[in-house]
């Protein structure tokens, strides 16, 4: 299973390197969202700085939608889905590989967004350990939920509209926890932050487990 995961992740990342969709399209989109927030909130420096944790994570969430859509539109092309089912790859391995690839792309996006937020919103950067762990765990959770619902939506005629409907409510608690953790970090109340981190870890673990258990069914019948 792990070997299959590595194989799939490597394949996905190689495709990204060749096609550069995340770089050319998703990254600019993410930065654009940050910009739009500034317009919407009247570029009030104070408001932006206070709202940074939330705005950051909303931008990440929206980018996740795109990243997941992309990850699975790859597999919707030209009979590839059938080929995957026939390939002999362990479905749980495919799931983990996809999660890894999406997570890696999201981490890169988050670093970019963190830079954007520092520059555009003048946000402070304290408790780097907490921030870093939050980022990683939240990303893992995002990728897991995304790939779980992504495969379900993939290949459907209504894929683009059903994915957000399924994904966003499920991600609501993740958004809350990640925002609170980052807010706690920048407020200097690190102890609160670690508690939210616990919830993020639980979230990621639960959805990873769910994905490993059910990806085979979803791949077959979506």
């Amino acid at each position: 299973m792990w070997r299959d995961a590595r194989l799939v992740a490597a394949k996905d990342l190689r495709i990204e390197v060749r096609s550069r969709v995340a770089l050319n399209q998703i990254a600019p989109f993410a930065l654009l969202v940050l910009l739009l927030f500034a317009f919407a909130l009247d570029s009030d420096r104070n408001v932006l700085r206070d709202a940074t944790p939330g705005l950051f994570w909303v931008a990440v969430l929206l980018s996740t939608l795109l990243a997941v859509q992309r990850a699975f539109s790859l597999e919707a092309a030209d009979g590839v889905r059938d080929a995957l089912r026939l390939s002999g790859l362990h479905p749980a391995g495919i799931f983990l590989g996809k999660v890894a690839s999406v997570a890696i792309q999201l981490v890169a996006l988050e670093l970019l967004l963190a830079l954007g937020v520092l520059v555009l919103y003048d946000a402070p950067l304290t408790s780097p350990l907490l921030l870093g762990s939050t980022g990683l765990l939240a990303t893992l959770g995002l990728a897991a939920v995304g790939c779980l619902y992504g495969v379900l939506a993939a290949g459907q005629r209504v894929a683009e509209t059903i994915l957000p409907l399924l994904l966003l409510p499920a991600l609501a608690p993740l958004l809350l926890a990640a925002t609170q953790a980052v807010a706690a970090a920048s407020d200097g109340v690190a102890s609160e932050g670690w508690r939210w981190l616990g919830l993020l870890a639980l979230f990621a673990a639960a959805y990873l487990a769910a994905g490993v258990a059910t990806f085979g069914i979803l791949l077959d019948d979506g």
Binding site: K11, S19, D78, G79, D82, A83, L86, G88, D220
Partner: protein, 220 residues
């Protein structure tokens, strides 16, 4: 010796349509069988059924020893399907695709290289992205993937379609070599003369049913 394919009254749905309404087919290992029949008869569904992609809802169906009604996932890694779609990643090169699909099936570098060679893709074409290939070249790449994966059962849906003369001869050669090596081949084709020359026997698919057509042909 257990048959490679053993269907008895198999019923399979595509959406809500009973594409297979009672198929009976027995194929021994190493045989090459040609499916013929009009469009919409259920040839593609039959092939996909044997690949374990389509659920069988009635009758009996065993492929390579796996019961398709209860456990069709197990047969998948052991069969190779050449479908109308290419099953390739357009953004990756020919070589990348072969390496990925080959390794997924447990084949090693040597198998991949041999397949590339056999299909004439080992030269300049290996580094070309699949999306840039012509339709015929893409078909050859799909065939190369099939060969590289070394499955026990080949399911070929109109393998000659889209290929030039040289390509078609290549396909015939591949089928002969595979059969000689003990691989079972089930193919559908509208090129009856050419395909009949390669096949041990022919069956006709009509209205979701399969029946034998006489005429053993002279295959070495």
């Amino acid at each position: 010796m257990e048959p490679a394919v053993d269907l008895c009254g198999a019923v399979a749905l595509v959406g809500r349509f009973p594409a297979l309404a009672g198929a009976d087919l027995v194929i021994d290992p190493g045989e090459v069988v040609l499916l013929q029949g009009p469009n919409g008869a259920g040839k593609t569904t039959l092939l996909r059924c044997c690949a374990g992609l389509v659920p069988v809802i009635d009758g009996e169906a065993r492929v390579l020893g796996c019961d398709l009604r209860t456990d069709r996932r197990r047969v998948r890694g052991r069969v190779g399907l050449l479908a109308h779609s290419s099953g390739l990643y357009d953004d990756l090169t020919v070589e990348d695709n072969l390496r990925f699909w080959g390794r997924a099936a447990g084949s090693d570098r040597a198998d991949v290289e041999a397949a590339l060679d056999r299909l004439g893709l080992a030269g300049r074409l290996r580094g070309v992205a699949v999306g840039r290939l012509s339709a015929g070249q893409r078909r050859r790449t799909s065939l190369a993937v099939l060969v590289a994966r070394r499955p026990e059962l080949w399911l070929l849906d109109e393998p000659h379609a889209g290929l030039d003369q040289a390509g078609r001869d290549l396909v015939d050669g591949l089928i002969r070599d595979a059969s000689a090596a003990g691989v079972t081949v089930l193919l559908s084709s509208h090129e009856l003369e050419r395909a009949a020359a390669v096949a041990h026997r022919q069956v006709e698919v009509v209205g979701g049913h399969v029946r034998e057509v006489g005429g053993e042909s002279d295959v070495a």
